[in-house]
């Protein structure tokens, strides 16, 4: 079997739309538009998240995120960061749509600033409101399999459980619960937050995640294009390995050289 024949059989589809890349990129915290541009080029991302904020009245022509995002190559996915209630999340989603975005939204409801963890109750409420308003909803959630199932049943397009707190670079600390979410999900599972190294992204994909979202690790890199490339390769590697069949862990060794045919002992 060859990649050429096996790869096309693996489309990544969200809400009926097919994507090539399984690596979503967050655009926050980059030192410059140029750095972001390089990271996006390096990982060849299609889905990129953005936030909505008050315009700076003293800097109207300020360096805009829009100068980097190419509508032909990128799907701009607005998040609801800053919202602490379902109503605020709905308001932000509508503003984004009015600004010309497609009706997709990364639902993010994080009431406390220290760990920026998602609120399960408000997130579920907001998801219901947003779906009623015709939005395609991608909710950021705790790695809670029951909550994930309830959101799926409400009609969210994906679930986006966290691996660790946003920006912590700690990796797949919620591995056991992510595994259960993947096992039970009928919508794509996108592991979001905490993935600080390509190996973390590969691990999530090997577990069977449909995609990953990375931001901090790219923004913090010294060489943004290279790090973008590294995450793209690792995400693909993990996906391919998941489909190619990984072996089980063993508690003892298993010889990789034959245990017979030894020469006569000296």
């Amino acid at each position: 079997m060859t990649q050429q024949t096996s790869r096309p059989a693996d489309p990544f589809v969200i809400a009926g739309r097919t994507f090539r890349s399984r690596l979503m990129v967050g655009t926050g915290k980059f030192p410059s538009s140029q750095a972001l541009k390089e990271a996006l080029a390096g990982c060849d991302a299609e889905i990129v998240t953005v936030a909505l904020r008050r315009a700076d009245l003293n800097n109207p022509s300020g360096d805009s995120i829009l100068s980097v995002i190419d509508p032909k190559r990128h799907l701009m996915l607005p998040n609801t960061s800053g919202a602490r209630t379902a109503d605020e999340a709905l308001r932000l989603a509508k503003l984004a749509r009015a600004a010309g975005c497609e009706p997709w939204v990364k639902l993010e409801l994080t009431p406390e600033p220290r760990y920026l963890l998602p609120d399960p109750i408000e997130t579920l409420r907001a998801a219901e409101m947003l779906i009623k308003e015709g939005f395609i909803v991608l909710p950021y959630i705790q790695a809670d399999p029951i909550l994930a199932k309830r959101l799926e049943e409400l009609g969210t397009a994906t679930v986006m459980p966290l691996g660790a707190p946003i920006g912590s670079n700690r990796g797949l600390k919620t591995r056991d619960m992510i595994r259960i979410i993947i096992e039970q999900a009928k919508v794509p599972v996108v592991v979001d937050a905490g993935l600080g190294a390509p190996s973390h992204a590969a691990e999530a994909m090997e577990l069977g995640a449909d995609a990953v979202l990375v931001n901090t690790a790219l923004a913090d890199a010294t060489d943004h294009e290279a790090m973008g490339r590294a995450f793209a390769l690792a995400t693909e590697a993990g996906r391919i390995a998941y489909r190619a069949g990984l072996g089980p862990e063993r508690s003892t060794a298993e010889a990789s050289s034959p245990l017979t045919g030894f020469l006569n002992k000296l």
């Binding site: 967050g26 953005v50 936030a51 008050r54 984004a96 600004a99 937050a193």
Partner: protein
Amino acid sequence: MQITLNGEKREVAGGTTVQILLDSLGFTAEATVVERNMDILDRSVYATTLVADGDSIELVRFVGGG
């Protein structure tokens, strides 16, 4: 008359439309969304919508976010 613009009190002359306000601040309509008293304004009405005394106006734009 006085309005609240992105949380700051501002004096604006009577007869000011949203378009005039944007122009005076140096904003282009494309990159910005305008929310007036919690209602999102369609760009097509910027030129015909007058700013009223006491209006609360938010100029919103996209920024990098995760």
